[in-house]
Symmetry: C2
Subunit: 350 residues, 2 copies
């Protein structure tokens, strides 16, 4: 499909993988998983489906230079910086304008994440291509769903309805409803009923998104149109961003849109959402210790260690996450890693 | 007393305060306690009693240069390096020879430690001066005893016998026997019976030590005599050290000597023997966390943190010792710090 554009959303506040990630170097720049930064992997997995000229990135203005360095194949002008932190709806409206300027109203835009892993990139390209076909043929917003591997409580779910007639190999369903992160019991019923994980990626025709914005978020429709009209978006963003609402795209558009589809499958999706992901990515010893980098352990169990800074030695401890980075050292109870934000909020300004 | 010489024994293998101490930079170079290195403090507390010209240091040859830098007031030739690791008896024999060459057979030699704290230096000088008087008047070896503050299990004890007629203000007793580190119950009976801690420091007249060595450790007597005869000790040490026994001075001499006295008192002695000393030297918060350096804590208790390297952040952990040094990071269960040597033995060669 020669009018498919991929817009990688590269925000992030750098809290979940502190101290490897920081506000100045958020999660998408972490190299721990897969040997390259997550954003480099996000762009590379598009190869063969979306050429670099049609890959765009919306990120913080302060991260534009670092992002361009990570993505040398992507044209510099395709990496666009937001002048201030807004929520995802503003970034999607900006993406809508950027893609319209390049490909017109019939171009298809895939909003993709910058900081997740996908261990089956070919499967991802296949489902993405089919979702793009579905989006091109309809006025629907097509979300990507992930077939659950277990009743996770850390993700939102999508309930699939009737199968849509998209003619694609990937099954595409009407999205009956989106549900928030469930408790454990609810998650089990969701999985039993065939709900899929909401991967936070969605695909739409420019004209379809323009209509949805005009109807549900007029201020964002104005932003999208202004970006589409601008030779360079920086001035428009600087002028309009202070005026657009801080709102998520889910709340501003997805929950209100008339037609939402979900293209579901297994592409080895892994959101590597916190330090608790370490044992999934580094081999554990018989005592459940998983080590990435330089570390010496004696009489430890259930410990996850990342040694990118000074080498680490642990003795007689259990169920900890220990991260030695050049800028800081983290020692965290394993059961508290999901709350790491609270600790980061207490740190002296870096 | 113008013929009192102080010989600071500065060995040490750098295991107990790893990673702040290392084999190349053992405990006497740690600056954490008192803001200066322990060896600098060991020399400074002699001021007013022993002039720098009569202060000597016996250390490892590899540590001579660093030791001289720490003690700029001490003449360079007074810092003597052992060519290989032997036990304390060889170092004492070397000290005996060095002091004889400078002060003759009637000079008094105080063998002192390099890596302990004494919070009452004036009291220490007083007891040391009195012990020197006692040693000058007799053929006894005078040990320094510390009045126990609690029934410690980490030190050896000395049982005092009859008071010796030394004419000193500090009470000096015959040392009835030396006992090893006791268990908790035994320690209580020791304290009740008036036993004192063996501080590992002792004072003797050169002639008295020569006699004791000749009688109990002839190979060491030969070493002492050769050092006394040499203009520069390095050649003698290089030649004789391979031949002298690896034996402690306690075993070689003290346990066999006919006349041993003990001068006991309170001079704020603190052997800072392991990381468990941290809470004694840095103020603890309400949750028992003691922090030296840069650290951020959230929901922690009973934690000791030393941040000399990358700043440390701890979340939801308890009863740990965490040390961030430039060369390495240690995370150790508090109850295991006494066994730190086992961990250090596993480290990659540094």
């Amino acid at each position: 499909m020669n009018n498919l554009y991929a817009v990688i959303m590269a925000g992030g506040s750098g809290e979940r993988f502190w101290p490897l990630s920081t506000p100045r170097r958020p999660k998408q720049f972490v190299k721990l998983f897969g040997g390259k930064t997550l954003i480099a992997q996000a762009a590379e997995r598009l190869e063969g489906l979306v050429p670099p000229e049609r890959v765009l990135v919306v990120t913080a203005r302060s991260l534009v230079a670092a992002t361009r360095r990570e993505l040398p194949q992507v044209p510099a002008e395709n990496v666009v910086g937001e002048p201030m932190r807004r929520d995802t709806a503003a970034a999607v409206a900006t993406a809508c304008g950027l893609v319209k300027r390049r490909g017109g109203a019939d171009a298809v835009c895939a909003i993709l994440t910058a900081d997740q892993l996908m261990s089956k990139p070919a499967a991802f390209r296949r489902i993405l291509a089919d979702a793009a076909v579905a989006a091109a043929k309809t006025d629907a917003i097509v979300t990507l769903g992930v077939t659950p591997t277990h009743p996770a409580t850390g993700f939102g779910y999508v309930e699939p309805g009737a199968r849509a007639k998209t003619g694609t190999r990937t099954p595409v369903f009407e999205a009956r409803r989106f549900v928030e992160k469930p408790d454990a019991a609810t998650a089990k019923t969701y999985v039993k009923k065939g709900f899929v994980w909401n991967a936070g990626m969605f695909i739409w025709r420019v004209a379809a998104m323009e209509q949805a914005l005009a109807k549900h978020a007029p201020a964002l429709a104005i932003l999208a149109a202004a970006v589409a009209d601008a030779a360079k978006p920086a001035g428009v963003l600087k002028k309009l961003y202070p005026q657009v609402p801080r709102i998520s795209v889910d709340y501003a558009v997805m929950e209100k849109a008339e037609k939402v589809l979900v293209a579901a499958g297994d592409f080895g999706w892994d959101d590597v959402g916190s330090w608790s992901a370490i044992p999934n990515h580094f081999p554990a010893d018989a005592d459940g210790n998983a080590v990435a980098g330089a570390a010496t352990l004696l009489d430890c169990s259930g410990v996850s260690v990342v040694g990118e800074g000074a080498p680490v030695a642990l003795f007689g401890v259990k169920d900890l996450v220990v991260v030695s980075a050049k800028n800081a050292v983290l020692v965290c109870a394993k059961e508290r890693v999901a709350e790491l934000k609270k600790l980061v909020a207490r740190l002296p300004v870096q």
